[in-house]
Symmetry: C2
């Protein structure tokens, strides 16, 4: 089980209705923040999930509407009593951006480790974080977060493999045991792999084909829908963003379970008016709003 | 007549109840912004006074709660269509801070002129802006804004000085006229100086004695009151801030007309509970809240 909260659902500039790009993932009490636009701290304060337990901050790119809130948040995390290191992941150039922004918060009571454009998946705070280079007007990466699920205990298999009953619990916990000169491995008492929970977060970008594989089978695909109207496709192309319909096409091709559109242009006052432009392509579409919370569970 | 709006009345971190330090001054449609904490743009959007006409941004100091919103605001001002240069005033070091923060908004359609710790008053957008070095944990300056008032036309004086009636209007507008070989000056038809409107803004600092002269006779003295309780004086001393009572003492000694306390610590949920700690010293005290608007007029 994992909880997510969309802290800000707007793009460009913060408004009274929508703060800027930010998503909080809460897994077993540890937090991963994705983007930190203006208003992130206010939404976090309303949610009340706490600041101290943020272990990782994933930044999609260095445009103001995705990162302005970062230095203030880093200060608040410091004031919350955190002393353990914090990891910031971002695209190429993120280290310089973070270091520049820290001109206003030079002293923090914890270390910051910065990882630029990771080419391999990272296992942090119980999740596997993967990144994908996107196609925006500045280096930008999308993220996926995968929570693996332990296989079930398989009693028939354990008996077949002649595993002593006294070892079943230990092996089930994932430990290897050597007993009476024989080596017992967890796979001897466990069933086949089970699907975990996958969340993907794609903003800001044009709908490039590599996204489809990257978001494959996501339980929740959070995707930018900067423009609701289909006829704003030219704006989407010029500004390297997507329309609702383009986000829905990706969701369909990626075989995701649910699409959550976000990052709406402030010029679009009522995104609901255009929801059908996505839902007619991918029915299980919901529109983002600030502090929308979802709990994702393992499917059976 | 001048309008002011307190855009954010909190200190430290933004909360759902209070955005961070920011004040907007609107004089004849031109705007001066003082500080730009997180949430500034949201309050501005609610107010609806516009972004394009911000000519000057005065920053008190480079702590996050006073400047985090700056890069986002600069982008929004750019998107509003502004192409005229914009002036940023701040303490020593502000140029480096602004340049660092601009890592996320490197391209703007207007020039930025930066003035560090001005030793002389500046006349911009119809106001005279003065700065005073304060005593905080980082270089910090307070500001005063003065709108001068033209003297009244003095008919008796004009007749006494034998000014031809045909020149009265021109001289009253402030122009010098040479007529029939004789030089006429505005002072020949104008009465004595009249007091203008003075607004002063002092945060963050300990209550140093130079503040008293600097805020002298202000119509509105906007002052930090980070701590409401008198017994938090030790915290105020340690963190280089002020209590409500200290702000009120300054207001009293400065002979100001009205005191507006702001920059409340987020730990103080109900500043109203401590209002009397200021009002018992300086009765004409009001407590800041986000988007509190005041219209100041010339006194007669």
């Amino acid at each position: 089980m994992v909880d997510i909260a969309l802290l800000g659902s707007g793009g460009g500039m913060p408004t009274p209705e929508r703060f800027l790009s930010s998503l909080l993932i809460n897994y077993k009490g540890r937090k991963i923040l994705v983007d930190c636009g203006e208003g992130t701290q206010v939404s976090m304060k309303i949610l009340g999930w706490g600041f101290k337990s943020i272990d990782v901050i994933c930044i999609t790119h260095g445009h103001g509407d995705h990162i302005v809130g970062l230095p203030g948040l880093l200060a608040t995390i410091g004031n919350s009593g955190r002393t353990e290191p914090l990891t910031i992941i971002g695209p190429e150039g993120i280290e310089n951006i973070v270091n520049c922004l820290r001109v206003i918060v030079p002293y923090l009571p914890y270390e910051i480790n910065i990882i630029e454009n990771p080419s391999e998946s990272l296992y942090i705070s119980g999740l596997t974080i993967s990144a994908l280079e996107l196609n925006h007007s500045t280096p930008c990466i999308g993220y996926s977060f995968y929570i693996s699920r332990k296989p079930k205990f398989d009693q028939e298999k354990a008996i077949l493999k002649e595993v002593p009953k006294t070892l079943w619990n230990t092996l089930q916990r994932g430990e290897i045991v050597v007993c009476d000169g024989k080596k017992y491995e967890p796979s001897m008492v466990l069933g086949s792999e089970r699907r975990g929970i996958k969340i993907s977060f794609i903003t800001d970008t044009r709908p490039i084909s590599t996204i489809i594989d990257f978001i494959k089978d996501s339980d929740l695909f959070i995707c930018e829908g900067t423009y609701g109207k289909n006829k704003d496709l030219d704006k989407a192309i010029n500004n390297k963003h997507m329309t609702f319909a383009e986000g829905a096409e990706l969701a369909l091709k990626g075989g995701v379970k649910e699409l959550l559109l976000t990052h709406f242009t402030p010029a679009m006052v009522e995104p609901e008016l255009y929801k059908d432009n996505a839902a007619s392509i991918f029915p299980n579409t919901i529109l983002g709003e600030d502090r929308l919370i979802k709990t994702l569970v393992f499917r059976d």
